[in-house]
Symmetry: C2
Subunit: 373 residues, 2 copies
């Protein structure tokens, strides 16, 4: 079973973007609030957008299910205030729920949170916990997107390990759902979005998590780092050395029980590095489709974001490992997913974990591969 | 010849740090200026710091020459105003010049620039051009460190491609010296320095350069991205796809004639990715020593930052390629270096470039290695 854990509704009907523009404009001009009821999108429009977009590519590539969230860049948490973000989250998440309702065996929801930078941060975290609960309990969602920089490019919030975020983490633990740590747009001309701010957000978040006690406070909290974890696997030795120099616990102990990496890496050697370095049980198939890069790689003949074909092309993953990366890990990390799928009549494979001897399982495997000049 | 193109005087005598503390304190309390003449460090103190620090490790590891700059984090451009940064640059660069004077066959200077964020940016760029000229013409330096975020963690400056930086680039071209793009400290609790802000700075700068016309305006301008280029080689496909989607020139044309990557990647698989992906002629040996990570990797028995041993351990680089990475490329990119070394009685090898058929030379090699599932 192939579960793409990172898809955004980037092809949403134009009415959504127009509603958002009007919302921002009304607030900026007069502080007025635009009602979510003013958004009108028909089922046919949604069906067309999905059938000609994500579903078409899923069928071509053999992806069974996508964990589907609103467009990440469009979350744009810095606009307006926490009420602006709250209404925008309701609108965006309700639209995702409609996609899931129309294609119940193909899409499962992951929600946007009504975060807001600056003074409203604490209030927006409480709203986020409530919106997460609504999406999980009422709409059948299985996770959320958590933006580590609600200022959208100026890094004005405290790290994700700050206690201001704890009400959200308490709710995540209570509901047993993970968060994908995903920045939104960049409004900073120095930080391009998809190829700089996105990757930098992943890298920054990993380092926040490495050097904190967050997972002592929340042992079952789970985060997914998208885009293959930003710079992290490429600089694995830097992180290992940094922690060791300071007498901090090693990565395995510090984060690998709680932090997962998706496979949004768009070339074979990068993907190879990811699976060589990160333990197989910490890797979740994802394509970020339809998203950052949409073209065909002339060097392979595949779409850049056809990460499944890259994974299939690797020699180093055995069949059990591939099954874990493609779906088994997602069914474990998104703990509510098996029941949600089963309730929709989707046959879910029995749980499996990669064998201890195959693939990479942390330091020991790294040792075997890294040592010996 | 082994030339480490990325070393900082992180072991400078304590008097330097105390002068800096007093400088900041005086300015913050009353706007007063501390005179550079108040810093007193003896030749013996410098000699001890170098002989017990960088030189000891260079001798152990077989490094012939280090391109040596002030501590990058300690540049801390956000303190005070542009005069604060100017005095601090004078002090820091003059100390590097003394190191080079005491060990002329071992260290060649790379200068800190008196950048300053916010309103003083334009003035500080003019000061930077003047300080660069002083360091190159009077002190025999061969390059500079250029901070893409003088706000030290909040990214408040325009991208490096902005015309505000052009007076500096005109001077770099006139003097024929490259800049290593290197952030300073992070004062942002969300962005740890060495394992987040440093890497994010490299990634952000690469994307700024990819999507601009800077190198059309300055065809001979050269930048080195430290820390193996942040996230860039790991996400090479993302950059290729992004540029292709937008009809922009490919990486080879956009940046690889002007942008170089150092080898500060602290594990073997990461290093392997770097040399597999980036053309050999764009890679410069570096260790960032003594710097971010100081311990010994228990998996290899080598220091994490002993990047020379990692390069030696790779099978994929032939002898010519290794010579280019270890020194030949540095002698070409730091164009003034051969003459500076020769004037100091150091025998410099004849110029060589990696053969066109060995190593990686851009798209064609990537094609051969990446294609074919």
């Amino acid at each position: 079973m192939r579960i793409d854990c990172h898809g955004h509704f980037t092809t949403a009907p134009a009415a959504l973007g127009k509603w958002r523009e009007r919302q921002i404009q009304a607030f900026e001009e007069s502080g007025a609030r635009l009602s979510p009821a003013e958004l009108r999108i028909s089922d046919d429009e949604i069906t067309t957008a999905i059938e000609q977009g994500q579903l078409k590519l899923q069928l071509e590539r053999g992806t069974d299910v996508a964990l589907f969230s609103p467009g990440a860049g469009k979350m744009a948490h810095h606009y307006g205030d926490e009420q602006t973000s709250l209404a925008w989250s309701h609108v965006s998440n309700d639209l995702i729920a409609r996609v899931c309702g129309l294609f119940p065996d193909r899409f499962v929801g992951v929600c946007q949170l009504p975060q807001s930078p600056g003074e409203p941060l604490a209030a927006s975290v409480r709203h986020s916990a409530a919106e997460l609960q609504r999406c999980v309990e009422e709409l059948g969602f299985v996770g959320c997107l958590l933006n580590p920089d609600p200022s959208d490019g100026h890094w004005q919030a405290p790290p994700l390990t700050d206690k201001v975020y704890y009400p959200l983490y308490e709710k995540m633990v209570e509901l047993d759902v993970p968060a994908m740590v995903h920045v939104a747009m960049s409004r900073n001309p120095a930080l391009q979005g998809t190829c700089a701010h996105y990757l930098n957000g992943d890298t920054a978040a990993f380092m926040q998590l490495c050097t904190s006690d967050l997972f002592k406070d929340f042992p079952t909290l789970k985060f997914i780092l998208p885009h293959g974890g930003g710079a992290v696997p490429y600089h694995w030795g830097r992180y290992r050395g940094f922690l060791q120099d300071r007498g901090l616990p090693p990565l395995e102990e510090a984060v690998l029980g709680n932090v997962y990496f998706d496979t949004c890496v768009y070339h074979r050697r990068g993907m190879q590095l990811l699976v060589d370095i990160v333990p197989t049980r910490n890797i979740l198939f994802a394509s970020e489709m339809i998203g950052a890069v949409r073209g065909v790689d002339p060097e392979t003949g595949h779409h850049f974001d056809d990460t499944g074909s890259l994974l299939d092309s690797l020699d180093s993953l055995g069949a059990d490992d591939l099954r874990a990366v493609f779906g088994g890990n997602a069914l474990r990390v998104f703990s509510r997913l098996p029941a949600v799928l089963a309730a929709r009549g989707v046959t879910v494979p029995a749980p499996s974990t990669p064998s201890a001897t195959s693939g990479q399982t942390g330091t020991s495997a790294t040792t075997a591969k890294e040592s010996g000049k």
